[in-house]
């Protein structure tokens, strides 16, 4: 697997007596969009948190560009090329949209370069008009785009999006979809996304992992997943 940018291998997470993840694994390759789906409470966000270092794993390994990062803190992983957005909005609310992006860009670039990159990214994500607006006063959907712009400004090799489309209008969702496609095609980014909007997942993701009760129950293309009996029973119940 020469192209695997991000690998999470055999992740175990226990919260007290609850096994949130057991031997869960996920791979994101360069130049592809990978979906991570599953019913509520399946452990999708927990898996994301383990990958980015927000959550301690009881067992397993996280590899970024072939290098184990499991022992690194959140910021170290970010500097190595791991970036994310959050399910519950975590924008820098009291800063403007531009400053949100600048904080990320300034981690690796000088003043002028960072400012130039920020403006480019804001333009690309479609936020140029609200660049000076305080993010805390923006609508949720727009603030989500600010989070995406901020994540991009950190120069990721792997980008994790936790429910990127929630709070977005249909047009905005479509725009995010085409932006993501552009990012993976042109920049060779590896995108891993958690999503509830199934049509969005099926249209944008080339690979899909299905998580249920902390275990990966299926991996495959959109078509394979849609016809997988285990997935159907996880989503619709077995009827027993």
């Amino acid at each position: 697997m020469p192209d695997a940018v991000l690998e999470a291998i055999d992740i175990d997470v226990r919260f007290g007596g609850l096994q949130a993840l057991s031997s869960a694994g996920v791979t994101a390759d360069a130049g592809t969009i990978t979906g991570l789906i599953g019913p509520n409470g399946a452990g999708k966000t927990t898996l994301f948190n383990v990958i980015t270092g927000h959550q301690h794993a009881n067992a397993g390994d996280v590899r970024l560009l072939g290098r184990s990062v499991a022992k690194y803190g959140v910021h170290r992983r970010a500097q190595l090329g791991l970036s994310r957005t959050f399910q519950k909005l975590e924008a820098f609310n009291s800063l403007s949209a531009r400053d949100n992006v600048l904080v990320a860009a300034e981690m690796h670039s000088g003043v002028r370069a960072a400012a130039r990159q920020s403006d480019e990214i804001l333009e690309r994500v479609g936020l140029a008009e609200v660049a000076d607006i305080t993010v805390g006063t923006l609508p949720t959907g727009t603030a989500r785009l600010v989070e995406l712009a901020r994540a991009l400004a950190a120069r990721p090799r792997a980008l994790l999006l936790d429910e990127a489309s929630s709070g977005l209008t249909e047009e905005e969702t479509a725009a995010v979809g085409s932006l993501l496609k552009q990012l993976v095609d042109e920049d060779g980014l590896a995108v891993l996304l958690v999503e509830h909007d199934m049509s969005f997942v099926m249209n944008t993701c080339s690979h899909i992992h299905v998580l249920d009760f902390g275990q990966i129950i299926a991996v495959g293309s959109a078509d394979e997943i849609q016809n997988d009996p285990a997935v159907r029973s996880a989503y619709l119940g077995t009827g027993s």
Binding site: H75, R84, F86, N93, L95, V103, E106, M107
Partner: protein, 748 residues
């Protein structure tokens, strides 16, 4: 799982405290004879006092578990009620009620009423407020209650409270007598602890009280009434504070400040022992502190240099407990409220302009060149200049809180500890290293060195603070402030009791400027403040400023873009410490003697409170610290005028004294601070602030929108009303309704 770990860490903390006691005894108490009798006596006294600490602390826990509000005013309530008790029972000119009746009146009537009032007027509005605001309001309330007690029961006479059972009655252990009242305290505290346990865990009310804090809305759906429950909790908490205050009073020097510092810090330490949640652990905490204190008094004598060290026991326990607690995770941020629609940071040229204007204005005012109409204040007298000087010293210390608390969101109650360290270095360094120019005769070229040397202390504090967040961070900084104030600074080797006032000068080799007159020293401070303010404005616009604010908004998100949160905290603490340290140099120089009172808890808290009330994210907030001085100065000038007695009273005895507390309490209404609101009114006047005018216009437009309901019925269709209607119906072609409405009329 986690609970087991917490217990283990608390045991570790207790073990460490005990071990240090043993080591201290071995080193400093070797000539004290150990006997079984002494051990028993010290233990009995410790348990009895400790049970009162536990009583007070459980009141704090009850309020916290029910309302989610950590009440820094808990001790203040206890103090106030204890003095009411003194007034109606012990005061010769008072009602002279019998002690039992007086106790009942205070504990069952006065305290609950006070608690309910506090809940109704203040605390209910703060349920969703950011933690910093909640903290500042309760600290403000504490300062207010304390000021009130100080004003009513002034230090003009020695007061005392007798125990409920006569001191003489008791029994003997060996040759030492143990009075019964200590046992009575133990019994009362025990009964109440059991009562509380049953109330919270075995009754419907108690279960509802514990549920309210987890989910208020859900609890009210089950038929509970959150308002009633929180009122009940505050009443209960206040009663317990009052009872503890009255019962502990016979054993201490009975004055408000003393009682408060005891009640506040002991209750907090004991409550922290139980993580402000567990009642049994809180009781254990209270007893442990009581035992440590009494055994310390019995066995250890550190000599006159450490007179106040016993007061540091509770803060040290607090510090150890907080550090032993599990590490804070990178948790999700809070929702910031009341933001400006357009983010605007002060521009560099505006900062420069403001700094120059401040210096010019101060010069003109102090020289008396400025006339207020017919009133000519004249040149400032030496008293006026002295007052101005002390105000500017506070302003300089306050400035250090701007990056730390205002931007990075790290609550710090210990700005004076950093300033004191700077003062210590300034006064001592020259002696140690043989530098000819320091040691009180300062050449200001050494000032940056002091700043540099203070930075490591800040970094050290940050290493501890980085593990903590929110409440525990605030508590540990309080503990830090108290330990420094009671153990470190009173030591004569640290700050000399008296040093002769020696003036500062700046000698850079080819030029020399002396600041040996009051006027030049005052102007020096003004210039330093202007420089500091300007530097902060530049800093805020730099990557550091952005990163700090981002970290306050969301640490989790800051880390995901590569910000090393711990290192960033180290940098901001170091910055703040070096600013405060340099301010400490001027502080040390401005005081003719540095004594223990300069480090009083209230002095430090007043700085923090006034900064918060002004708006801690604005450097200019430092000027608000001159608030008391300005009011006192005005009152002094007016005193010569006739028929203004009321105004003088208002300025001098009301605003100047109660101001800090009241202003902080005022944050209930205005969470962003005074400068934010003043700026909103003032900025549109400035010719270059088109954005502020547009913001104002947009706000007015939003206000008009609410009046749409009357259109066509009570109001005519004007072009403005049509725009408002359009906005409400969403048929405006503007993308953002923030701009252009003012001009929109003509466009329509």
């Amino acid at each position: 799982m986690t609970f087991g770990r917490i217990r283990t860490s608390l045991l570790v903390a207790f073990g460490a405290a005990l071990a240090s006691l043993v080591i201290l005894y071995w080193r400093y108490g070797a000539d004290t004879e150990v006997s079984g009798e002494k051990i028993v006596i010290a233990s009995v006294i410790g348990l009895a006092t400790g049970s009162l600490y536990a009583l007070s602390a459980t009141g704090l826990v009850v309020v916290y578990t029910t309302t989610g509000m950590f009440n820094f005013a808990h001790g203040g309530i206890g103090v106030f009620c204890a003095f009411v008790y003194w007034e109606i029972v012990e005061n010769a000119d008072g009602l002279g009620l019998p002690p039992g009746l007086g106790l009942a009146v205070v504990v069952l009537l006065v305290a609950p009423l006070l608690g309910i009032l506090i809940d109704l007027i203040l605390m209910r509005r703060l349920r969703t407020a950011p933690l910093v605001v909640q903290l500042m309001v309760t600290v403000g309330l504490m300062v207010f209650l304390l000021t009130l007690a100080n004003q009513i029961w002034q230090a003009d006479q020695i007061r005392g409270v007798k125990p409920l059972i006569d001191r003489a009655e008791g029994f003997n252990i060996g040759i030492s007598r143990v009075p019964y009242y200590r046992f009575a305290n133990l019994v009362i505290a025990g009964v109440i602890a059991v009562f509380l346990r049953i109330l919270l865990f075995r009754t419907r009310t108690g279960v509802a009280m514990r549920a309210v804090v987890d989910n208020r809305e859900l609890t009210s759906l089950t038929g509970a009434r959150p308002g009633l429950l929180s009122g009940f909790a505050w009443a209960l908490g206040s009663s317990m504070a009052a009872l503890a205050g009255i019962l502990v009073a016979p054993d201490i020097e009975f004055n408000p400040a003393n009682l408060n510092s005891l009640m506040l810090i002991v209750a907090i330490s004991a409550a922290a022992f139980g993580q402000v949640r567990s009642l049994p652990l809180t009781v254990v905490g209270g007893l442990v502190i009581g035992l440590l204190e009494s055994h310390y008094q019995q066995w250890i004598s550190l000599g006159p240099d450490f007179t106040f060290a016993n007061r540091a026991i509770a803060p040290i326990v607090l510090f150890l407990v907080v550090l032993a607690l599990p590490q804070a995770r990178l948790s999700v941020g809070r929702v910031s409220t009341n933001l400006r629609p357009i983010e605007r940071t002060t521009r560099v040229w505006e900062g420069a302009f403001g700094a120059v204007a401040l210096v010019v204005l101060a010069y003109v005012l102090a020289k008396g060149w400025f006339h207020f109409g017919v009133w000519d204040p004249g040149e400032w007298s030496s008293t006026g200049l002295n007052k101005g000087t002390s105000a500017m010293v506070l302003a300089l210390i306050g400035l250090s809180l701007v990056p730390l608390t205002g931007w990075a969101g790290q609550v710090n109650f210990a700005p004076l500890a950093f300033a004191g360290f700077g003062a210590f270095l300034w006064l001592r360094l020259g002696l140690w290293f043989g530098l000819p120019d320091t040691g009180g005769t300062g050449n200001l070229v050494w000032l940056p060195l002091i700043g540099l040397l203070c930075a490591p202390l800040g970094a050290l504090v940050a290493v501890f603070a980085a593990r903590l967040s929110g409440l525990y961070l605030a508590l540990s900084s309080l503990a830090f402030a108290l330990i420094m104030a009671n153990v470190v600074f009173p030591h004569p080797q640290v700050l000399p009791r008296v040093h002769t006032f020696q003036s500062l000068y700046l000698d850079v080799g080819f030029a020399r400027q002396d600041f040996d007159t009051r006027f030049s020293f005052f102007m020096l401070l003004i210039v330093m403040f202007a420089l500091g303010m300007f530097a902060l404005i530049v800093l805020r616009r730099s990557r550091f400023g952005r990163r700090w604010v981002a970290m306050q908004d969301s640490q989790a998100a800051a880390a995901t873009v590569g910000v090393n949160v711990v290192w960033t905290k180290v940098v901001v603490y170091a910055t703040s410490a070096s600013m405060a340290g340099m301010a400490g140099v001027f502080w040390a120089t401005s005081l003719s003697s540095v004594d223990i009172r300069s480090f009083d808890l209230l002095a430090g808290l007043t700085i923090v409170l006034l900064m918060a009330a002004a708006g801690m994210s604005f450097p200019v907030a430092g000027l608000f610290l001159s608030f008391q001085v300005v009011f006192e100065g005005l009152a002094e000038r007016l005193e010569q005028t006739e028929n203004v007695e009321f105004l003088v009273w208002l300025l001098k005895d009301f605003f100047a004294k109660f101001g800090p507390g009241l202003l902080a309490i005022g944050m209930v209404v205005n969470q962003r601070g005074a400068i934010f609101e003043m700026g909103k009114g003032f900025a549109p006047i400035l010719p270059w602030r088109r954005d502020a005018r547009e913001e104002l216009a947009a706000e007015n437009a939003r206000k008009r929108v609410t009046e749409v309901g009357g259109l066509g019925l009570t109001e005519p269709f004007t072009s403005e009303a049509i725009i408002a209607l359009d906005t409400q119906l969403g048929i405006v072609d503007d993308v953002t309704p923030t701009a252009g409405y003012h001009h929109g009329v003509s466009r329509a």
